[in-house]
């Protein structure tokens, strides 16, 4: 079977991992970093992703997109409260958020696809083969729309997403494999933007999730924002600098806050220095750990409620839990560790790098799916109750939260009026009584043959697959025939839209490649031209007049080629110049070697 990789598509950072024999391993990039910052930037030189995009955060804030995971599967109304924290502009079209970057309006799945493509390229360079299949992780508390959006992102990036895997369960797989954990496990996962708690029973290679809960809008980003709010207010008061319309300053504050937060995990105090605009000097602020902990105490408190609910759903109390595992960068915060330890009464585990453990688990699941691991099996659950709208705007539940997946529910529909030819069905997800308080997932229309009221019987099957994604099918019970359904997602891309984006991304990718090749060729041409000039300056007595003429001609030809858009003539001209300077380069080398030897001999003389 073709290779399947494991991908952690995170709010702050993303990683790609594979099974190296029996050990899950994260693939590092050229600089040796395993983390790819989940940041995408449009620079004058083209699209950049990861570390290169991170460099653009301060320089190019309006064209640099980060934390896009917070917008996956959401409408604009869901995120109005946090818009002030983002320097880029957002809008909504057909129930899907659009991020405005330069002259482009991109959906969150398209941006995520760019990050996925970067990871894919990293793995392809590592293996020297094309990568087509992947397991991608999502927060356990992600709803159907958010999961679907993640799957769409994979498709747009040219990946066949074999499984959408829950992050805390992924972590438990990594721990289960490498640390041989057994018994009742709680996974506390506080990432950049989301919080999950999962309770599992691990027994004889079976990883059975008993309950999961969380908050898809709570994470390290929110810790940063508390610091940003504090500093913004102080800057306003002391320096009378308004932050509106100053994306650079906003971004500098955010980056400063994030760095301070990370330092405060190891140190008692951290200093933030922000240069102020219009020659107003610098804002300096020392933050102590105690002060920071006070600022985020209520956020921390917010994670305890889902934890208690998950335990209650599993029918367990904190003392039943054998092991607690910490996942996610935000669990490095000492306050988080203390509170988790206090709640469960035991020291939580964090032996596996909390930034990498989810990707490692995704690689383990990939190995299970490809048959490489046969003794492990994960039985996960659906995090939210699924239902349909009934009379009076009430939700009638079909599949309860924390039901083991795959699972299905059947519902029979009929007509109320003679000759009625359709029934509208509204699918919901959530724990509340009323439709309006739950998440609208999709609507569809059931086509019914015209018959007297109550005679038609259409059976609709709601199937939640192992990805936690809903599939709806319908069957006319009288004829036994399958009914076709057109499900319109409330907050998601239609199949046609995804298809178009796959095509577009293919075209963009080719344009991007061309752009990149041209830039690289030009950069190389510039450096070789500079090197040639330098060499000629030192070439007295080493170059014949004919050689000199040839070198001058080749340099001129290269300069001319650089003006063009095609990288190939530039490459040819570089080759020609290399050939013309070859003899000179050798002689220069010999001379410098001789000089070096002479120096050595002199220095060795006592």
């Amino acid at each position: 079977m073709a290779r399947i990789v494991g991908i952690d598509l995170g709010t702050t950072n993303s990683l790609i991992a594979y099974m190296n024999g029996k050990t899950p391993t994260v693939i590092a990039g050229r600089e040796g970093h395993t983390l790819v910052p989940s940041i995408v930037a449009y620079t004058p030189a083209g699209l950049v992703v990861g570390d290169a995009a991170k460099d653009q955060l301060l320089r190019n804030p309006e064209r640099t997109v980060y934390s896009v995971k917070r917008f996956m599967g959401k409408g604009l109304a869901d995120v109005t409260q946090e818009l002030q924290y983002f320097p880029y502009r957002l809008s909504e079209q057909d129930g899907v958020i659009r991020l405005h970057v330069g002259d482009k309006a991109l959906t969150p799945p398209e941006i995520s696809a760019m990050i996925l493509r970067e990871l894919k390229a990293r793995a392809e360079a590592f293996f020297g083969e094309a990568i087509r299949k992947a397991v991608i992780t999502v927060p356990a508390y992600f709803n159907d729309s958010q999961r679907q959006a993640t799957k769409d992102a994979g498709k747009i990036a040219g990946l066949d997403v074999i499984r959408i895997l829950n992050e805390p369960t992924a972590a438990s797989l990594a721990y289960g494999l490498q640390k041989r954990k057994q018994g009742l496990i709680a996974v506390y996962d506080l990432g950049g933007g989301t919080f999950d708690i999962s309770i599992l029973k691990i027994k004889g290679g079976i990883f059975e999730v008993l309950a999961t809960n969380g908050n898809t809008h709570l994470g390290g980003d929110d810790f940063d924002r508390r610091l940003v709010d504090l500093m913004m207010a102080e800057i306003k008061a002391a320096h009378r600098v308004s932050l509106e319309g100053r994306p650079e300053l906003q971004q500098a504050l955010r980056v400063g806050a994030e760095q301070a937060k990370c330092r405060l995990s190891a140190e008692e105090r951290a200093e933030v220095r922000i240069p102020l605009p219009d020659q107003r000097g610098e804002y300096r602020r020392t933050i102590t750990r105690t002060e920071f902990e006070k600022l985020v105490a209520d956020l921390m408190e917010k994670t305890l409620e889902p934890t208690r609910r998950a335990l209650a759903d599993a029918g367990l109390s904190t003392t039943d839990i054998d092991e607690v595992i910490l996942v996610g960068g935000a669990t490095r915060t000492p306050l988080v560790r203390q509170q988790v330890q206090a709640l469960f009464g035991k020291v939580p585990h964090s032996e596996l790098n909390p930034d990498e453990v989810v990707a490692l688990g995704a690689a383990v699941q990939a190995a299970i799916l490809s048959g490489g691991i046969q003794d492990m099996l994960l039985l996960d659950v659906t995090p939210l109750t699924l239902g349909i709208e009934t009379m009076g705007g009430v939700m009638s539940s079909l599949i309860r939260r924390n039901t083991t997946i795959p699972t299905s529910a059947k519902e029979m529909f009929t007509t109320f009026v003679d000759g009625q030819t359709s029934v509208d069905i509204h699918i919901l997800q959530g724990e509340r009584e009323l439709t309006k308080d739950n998440r609208s997932l999709a609507r569809f229309q059931l086509k019914i043959p015209p018959l007297p009221a109550g005679v038609p019987r259409i059976e609709v099957t709601f199937m939640i697959d192992a990805n936690g994604i809903l599939n709806v099918t319908a069957r006319d019970v009288r004829t036994g025939e399958a009914q076709s359904l057109e499900v319109k997602p409330s907050y998601g891309l239609t199949d046609q839209a995804v298809e178009r984006m796959i095509q577009e991304s293919f075209v963009f990718a080719q344009q991007d490649i061309k752009e990149r090749q041209r830039i690289e060729a030009r950069n190389e041409a510039e450096s070789i031209l500079r090197a040639t000039e330098k060499a000629l300056a030192r070439a007295d007595g080493l170059v014949t007049p004919e050689e000199l003429a040839a070198i001058r001609d080749a340099s001129a030809a290269l300069t001319a080629a650089m003006a063009g858009d095609d990288h190939r003539p530039i490459r040819q001209a570089i080759e020609a110049l290399n050939k013309a300077t070859y003899g000179l380069a050798e002689r220069l080398m010999d001379r410098s070697l001789l000089e070096a030897l002479k120096d050595k001999k002199l220095s060795q003389t006592p």
Binding site: G204, L378, S408
Partner: protein, 233 residues
């Protein structure tokens, strides 16, 4: 109520893939393809159990894990579309069967559905012996809401204390109902073991009727207890 039911699920007779004879196994003996669960099987027979109400949850779990290893879609990623469809459908049925039978209340409700054709949600019914207490609780709940609305803390505290006492009455009643339900589980199981005769049939019907009655009182009490819990905060 007269219900037609089969004691055992019909064994599937033929493999969907190679048409060899098969006898109720997960996989075809000839071509090793996964087989769909019989349409006639219920949650009990799916997990290899007779329709008894006392179930050893340890061995139920073992069986569930064993069958999950046979059917879970994780093991069918590279297989044919038909095999993947069978795996998905079987897993979904298995998960629902385990979820239902693991929990004694859901198990009893399911048995009532199978044996007496009762509806999915058994409607709640007030226990007659607690009629007056229930009326008082309703009154106290309303009074507490009113007291809270006018920020009358002394009155709120008095009502809360009363409600706490009444909550204990409800909880005691619920425990008594559950104890009787456990007895009925044993009565039912003994009847299942006996050979068929008219007295067994009448006994079963009586047991089912009483179970249904207990479940609907219990459901009523749960709703009431949830309301009290919400009011007490």
């Amino acid at each position: 109520m007269e219900t037609v039911r089969k004691e055992l699920p019909l064994a599937r007779s033929m493999c969907w893939h190679c048409q060899s004879d098969i006898g109720g196994e997960y996989f075809c003996g000839q071509c090793v393809k996964v087989q769909p669960l019989s349409k006639d099987s219920d949650y009990f027979s799916c997990l290899g159990l007779s329709r008894k109400l006392n179930i050893d949850t340890g061995s139920l779990e073992t069986k569930f894990y064993e069958m999950s290893r046979a059917f879970h879609p994780d093991f069918y990623v590279g297989k044919s579309e038909m095999e993947r469809a069978v795996s998905l459908a079987n897993s979904a049925t298995l998960n629902q069967a385990y979820h239902t039978l693991k929990d004694p209340i859901l198990r009893a409700e399911y048995l009532l559905r199978l044996e007496a054709g009762s509806s999915k949600d058994i409607p709640g019914k007030a226990p007659t012996d607690l009629f007056e207490t229930l009326l008082e609780i309703q009154e106290h709940l309303e009074e507490l809401q009113a007291a809270k609305a006018r920020a009358d803390t002394t009155e709120s505290a008095r009502l809360a204390a009363q409600l706490k006492g009444e909550r204990t009455t409800l909880e005691t009643k619920r425990a008594a109902l559950e104890a009787r339900l456990a007895e009925l589980f044993h009565i039912w199981d003994r009847l299942v073991e006996k050979p068929h005769d008219p007295s067994v049939r009448a006994g079963k019907e009586q047991a089912l009727k009483e179970m249904r009655d207990i479940l609907s009182q219990r459901s009523y009490l749960n709703t009431m207890l949830a309301n009290v819990a919400e009011a007490l905060g």
